[in-house]
Symmetry: C2
Subunit: 148 residues, 2 copies
């Protein structure tokens, strides 16, 4: 245990992969704890993805958000139940379902963006412009890692 010593650090012993892995996991837990709004992280991300892409199928959403189809079924079911997403038949493939955001969904997305990100936005504003720039450059790299 540390007695009056500085905050413990995990990083520095592992390589970049371990440091990044642990940092991502910990920040993810921290963000989850913060909560924000009435949508979970995956629910919010799914709604945002559908809105951003105009329309997506459940399978595309599952692949995009890195969850399995049955998990996304639950997320979508919730969003449809809340009248935030709408189901429509696929124009050419009757197995598929086309999801679009409802007006209510788009409105909620707009309203909750600030609220949901309040904690993180505040923390980011306390960083130096240089640090924010680093994170801005890191985001697309993180996206690419998720996609791999």
């Amino acid at each position: 245990m540390r007695m009056n010593s500085p905050a413990p650090q995990v990083t520095g012993r592992g390589g970049l992969a371990e440091d990044l892995h642990i940092s991502i996991a910990r920040l993810s837990r921290r963000l989850r704890r913060q909560g924000g709004g009435d949508l979970s992280a995956t629910q919010f991300a799914a709604l945002a993805a559908v809105d951003c892409n105009e329309a997506m199928t459940p399978r595309e959403l599952a692949d995009h958000e890195k969850v399995r189809p049955p998990s996304m079924t639950r997320v979508v079911a919730f969003l449809v139940d809340q009248d935030l997403l709408r189901r429509a038949p696929h124009p050419t493939d009757r197995r598929q379902v086309v999801l679009t955001a409802t007006d209510k969904g788009r409105t909620l997305l707009t309203e909750r963006r600030a609220l949901r990100q309040a904690w993180l936005s505040q923390r980011l504003s306390e960083l130096t412009p240089d640090a924010r720039a680093v994170l801005g450059r890191a985001v697309p790299i993180l996206e690419r890692l998720s996609r791999a």
Copy 2:
């Protein structure tokens, strides 16, 4: 739905906070799916933190990894049960417990580091040196955000 169009992007509509939040959550899910070894993300991080700091109490571990004390109790109980961590009485405060890594814990940590990070290490090696440098600079910033 996208028909033969490029991969959908979430980023670009929200600000840095939203983009970062969603990217972190998604990569966290992706990393969890990858698995790697027989320790969960929190179990591995806890063991690494104790090893790195020589000794920590459960409360310090909980604060450090951003989980509540009862959650860390379970993590620690598992690690002690697996003979990876050892409990010892605190020298001056009999309420507290001092955790140290066992030889088995340190050995496992060394052995599993490469295995556990194999997927991410491979992905990182496919990035440009510049991209890796960005992530290297981002890690301590992410740590700082977690700590806030």
